[in-house]
Symmetry: C2
Subunit: 210 residues, 2 copies
């Protein structure tokens, strides 16, 4: 009998259930926000009994932290893939806007989770997200520092501009998350807005401190 979950090593099965819990929590978060869903709701939605939850996470807070980790690793993977696309060298702004919207659309649930819990979540979850975003700002600053025009800036300035970009990325991601499905007009509008904002900032680069 080649039943799906029938023949599975013990740890593989455990991993599968763990993922079911993560998926359930992510889906439930979309309508009500992670901070207001209950352990029992998650268990019910994952098809397990409430007590079984504890075999995988000590508390809802730990589940939240695991979701933060998963969300950011998804984001990093997507950015790494996007960087391999040759189009980004032609027009970095249009490419960035395109990648932003596409990436967020593709894993809406993760972005919605981060956007919401960044400010609305529990203390622990908020701190974890803030930490990841700070890391992100620093990573971007390294990339920016290598661009022409910027290589002479003070590292403080570069850090500031990096924060500006990440902040706008988060805001735009929020907009895409709130966007109803299948509305290419709205999507184009957000993309155009992101493009303009980036152009504005980049023009500011040019004359900065001159």
């Amino acid at each position: 009998m080649t039943e799906s979950a029938q023949t599975a090593s013990r740890q593989a099965q455990k991993e599968r259930t763990r993922q079911l819990i993560l998926d359930a929590a992510l889906e439930l978060s979309q309508t009500q926000g992670f901070a207001q869903i209950s352990l029992r709701q998650v268990a019910r939605h994952a098809g397990i009994v409430p007590t079984a939850f504890y075999r995988h996470f000590d508390s809802m807070d730990e589940l939240g932290l695991a979701l933060v980790e998963q969300s950011f690793s998804t984001l990093r993977r997507m950015i790494r893939e996007a960087q391999r696309d040759p189009k980004v060298f032609d027009n970095i702004i249009d490419a960035a806007a395109q990648v932003l919207v596409e990436t967020v659309k593709q894993s809406k649930a993760h972005f919605a989770f981060v956007a919401r819990e960044r400010v609305g979540g529990s203390e622990a979850v908020r701190r974890a997200i803030q930490h990841e975003l700070d890391l992100f700002v620093s990573e971007l600053a390294v990339v920016l520092a290598r661009l022409p025009n910027i290589e002479t800036w003070s590292s403080d300035d570069v850090q500031m501009v990096s924060r500006l970009f990440v902040r706008n990325m988060v805001s735009n991601a929020e907009e895409v998350v709130d966007m109803p499905d299948h509305r290419p007009d709205l999507e184009e509008r957000i993309k155009e807005g992101a493009r303009r904002q980036m152009r504005l900032i980049v023009i500011g680069f040019h004359d900065w401190k001159s």
Copy 2:
């Protein structure tokens, strides 16, 4: 006997209790977020019995909407006052950064409420806040449109730049809210960051579409 709440017209007393409820909810929101506090917690903190809550609000959602209204009317009043300050004409950017930080510090609770519930709140509360912010963007756009350099822009461009400012205002307000009390160094840092961001955007203005 000139007891405080002893002699009070009926509606004045009702108004006072209503305000006690609003204050209680606002204070409790600071630690846990409005979306996760209960009707009973609010009543307890306001010094009334849970059922008395219903004499003032039909539900926690209605209380949330009342808090949104109160928060934004506070904000508008402060901006109106700030506009009367002659210093804003000397250096609009430094003044804006100063006003932003001072205003947020002064009514931290209201800003914290808006910043959190904007994304983490219930559907109804989120929509109300988004609506108020949209109004704000439009109001600011009218002010901006009268500035030199900008009067020739398309209204779409002005709207975009207005969104950029409001978005950054929200982000900076978030930072001030998260700031621990009595840390003038951090405060100065945020102010300096806000100043730089605004300068960058303004420099962008200058060369826009040229």
